[in-house]
């Protein structure tokens, strides 16, 4: 199956969940409807598509200009040796998307990082907690509205009983 026919087959299988297909410097990109991210990725994870690896999950902040956050998923299929990029936009007002926890084991940490850095809520996440910063950190540092140099308040030491 060539790359084009693979994308065609994925489109046919996912139906309206796919809002568009793009090519980015030679790599295929699928634009998904945010509400369908979890079911669509669950389908892609299984044969015949067999994208068994969630390579990466990150987010891009387009809140200022376009009023949205874009989630970027990278999948990898070991059997076909191909990668696939998927994107889904969520509104900047209340960014939320379904969690992938339960489909891939690394999703839990990847989503915690995106929550920490961008404030995107992952619905159904078993442990929504900051990953790289700490409890008590104010704001989400990778948002464009967060200044590059901003001092955080000092936290009081926690008393241990």
């Amino acid at each position: 199956m060539g790359p084009e026919s693979l994308i065609g087959e994925i489109r046919a299988r996912l139906g309206p969940a796919v809002e568009g297909v793009a090519d980015s410097f030679g790599d295929p990109v699928l634009v998904l409807r945010a509400a369908d991210v979890r079911p669509a990725l669950a389908v892609l994870r299984q044969p015949p598509f067999d994208y068994a690896v969630l390579l990466d999950l990150t987010c891009v902040d387009y809140a200022a200009g376009e009023g949205r956050f874009e989630l970027v998923y990278h999948l990898f299929s070991l059997s076909r040796n191909v990668r696939l990029r998927l994107k889904a936009s969520v509104p900047a007002g209340d960014p939320a998307v379904a969690s992938l926890a339960g489909l891939w084991k690394n999703a839990e940490w990847l989503e915690r990082e995106v929550f920490d850095m961008f404030g995107v809520r992952f619905e159904g996440h078993p442990y929504p907690r900051r990953l790289l910063t700490y409890e008590g950190f104010e704001g989400h540092p990778l948002r464009k509205s967060y200044p590059w140099r901003l001092e955080q308040p000092r936290l009081p030491l926690r008393d241990r009983d």
Binding site: S24, F25, G26, D27, A52, V53, L54, L55, D56, T58, V60, D61, V72, H74, L78, N81, R83, R85, W104, K105, N106, E108, W109, M117, Y127, R129, R130, L131, L132, T133, Y134, E135, G136, P141, L142, Y146, W148, R158
Partner: protein, 443 residues
């Protein structure tokens, strides 16, 4: 939100809660492992990372494409050249650049030297924490052999910034061939010694064999790549699966393990170093001797500047020692000819008006490298696995978004599962075999 961690909330009242780290001699860098214990048995574990978070991705959004290269040195600080390479090649994919053959071969040399030093560091620390201090000293010695070769050419051991967008900064230093051969010989001898000390050492086997084992399905589900994934028997290596540079022309094997336990991770890394040494020898044989620089008088920079006021200067100019190897005559082999991506030759900046203008245009805000709009992902095989860069450009002189796919992030995410139900002593070799690198995981 409840400030208590999941572990604290779920712990049974009778359990002992214990922190390993963030400051613990076995937590290379800083990481906190919270343990719920029943005597020595780990009932539950939770890892907390982020102690070395420096805002790498945020910082990059505020630096120009050229200037942010130095921050990539500080990701996986044991093999900085591979991070340089990953970033440079991602940019080259976006800019559509072809890199000269000589620069590609030098990049392979540097990647493999870094890979060996990365594996050496991982295994040295892992062995030391298991009590094999001799192995630690032997392997650190071998790492020095390799870093000497890197230092001769790149000018630094760790903060190299040597692999640049479009090529490499400088040519290999004269005498590199002998230095590399000696380093390879020395490292081989050390690997042989270490094999003799550890491969069938019953203490080492007792602490590694069957411990920290993971199934293939789980390894894939955790997004493992690199030696950790290969230890489970899956021969996925970016250099083979998606060849870059000249790897498709070189002969090397991808060693795999069987059980995905600590011992297999050790053994895969040991065998991979052998392959990397093999690659170093093959690549060194492919690099042609550098043509000697043209003979004739060498002008001091101030003389050249004075002379150039009357007529266009000819002949060579003595450059400062830190520019050794990047003379104008060497550039065609090292840098892509599409100029605006590399620093213009210093000789031109000294002596010609056009050279000075292009120098300023390269470094001025809003000028310099400006890739087209769009987003791109590219990855290379790092010491820990697939080092991927996801970069979004809005067409300006700095990234709109830059994200690193850190391979050890995914490996360490599995640590909680690997040590659950084991003994405290098993945390040490398991954690050591995953090769957590603070700069890479926390960014």
């Amino acid at each position: 939100m409840d400030p208590r961690t999941r572990l604290e909330r779920q712990a049974r009242p009778a359990s002992l809660l214990l922190n390993m780290g963030p400051s613990h001699p076995a937590m290379h860098g800083t990481m906190r492992i919270m343990l719920e214990l029943d005597a020595e048995r780990i009932l539950n574990a939770e890892c907390e990372i982020g102690y070395l978070h420096r805002g790498f991705e945020k910082t990059c959004e505020n630096k120009t494409w050229f200037n942010l290269l130095i921050y990539t040195d500080r990701l996986n600080y044991v093999s900085p050249l591979i991070n340089n390479l990953g970033y440079a090649m991602t940019m080259e994919k976006m800019l559509g650049l072809a890199v000269p053959e000589r620069a590609q071969l030098i990049r392979v040399l540097m990647s493999e030297l870094s890979r060996v030093s990365d594996h050496l560091t991982c295994l040295a620390a892992m062995a030391m924490e298991n009590g094999a201090f001799t192995v630690f000293l032997y392997m650190m010695k071998a790492r020095e052999f390799l870093w000497d070769v890197i230092e001769q050419t790149a000018g630094a051991r760790m903060t190299t910034s040597y692999i640049r967008i479009g090529g490499v900064r400088a040519d290999l230093r004269p005498g590199w061939r002998e230095a590399l051969a000696a380093a390879v010989r020395g490292t081989r001898a050390v690997l042989k010694d270490v094999s003799g000390l550890l491969d069938r050492n019953s203490i080492f086997i007792g602490r590694t064999r069957g411990i920290g084992a993971i199934s293939r399905e789980d390894a894939l589900s955790y997004g493992w790549t690199g030696p950790c994934l290969r230890s489970t028997g899956i021969a996925y290596d970016v250099r083979k699966a998606h060849p870059y540079l000249v790897y498709d022309r070189l002969a090397f094997d991808v060693p795999v393990g069987e059980h995905g336990d600590n011992y297999d991770r050790y053994s895969v890394r040991m065998r991979e170093m052998e392959q990397s040494l093999r690659l170093l020898e093959q690549t060194a044989a492919l690099v042609p001797e550098a043509a000697p620089l043209p003979a004739g008088p060498v002008l001091e920079p101030d003389e050249a500047i004075r002379a150039s006021r009357r007529r266009r200067a000819s002949g060579r100019i003595r450059l400062s020692p830190n520019l050794e190897g990047s003379e104008k005559e060497r550039q065609p082999g090292l840098m892509t000819p599409d100029r605006p991506v590399g620093v213009p030759p210093k000789e031109d900046a000294y002596t010609t008006m056009e050279g000075l203008i292009s120098h300023f245009l390269f470094f001025m805000n809003g000028k310099g490298i400006r890739p087209p709009k769009g987003d791109v992902y590219f990855s290379v095989e790092g010491g820990n696995g697939e080092v991927g860069f996801y970069i979004v450009s809005d067409g300006s002189d700095r990234p709109y978004r830059l994200h690193l796919r850190a391979p050890c992030f995914h490996a360490v995410a599995a640590l909680e599962q690997l040590i659950r139900g084991r003994l405290i002593a098993d945390v040490i070799p398991t954690f050591g075999s995953l090769n957590m690198i603070g700069g890479e995981i926390d960014r």
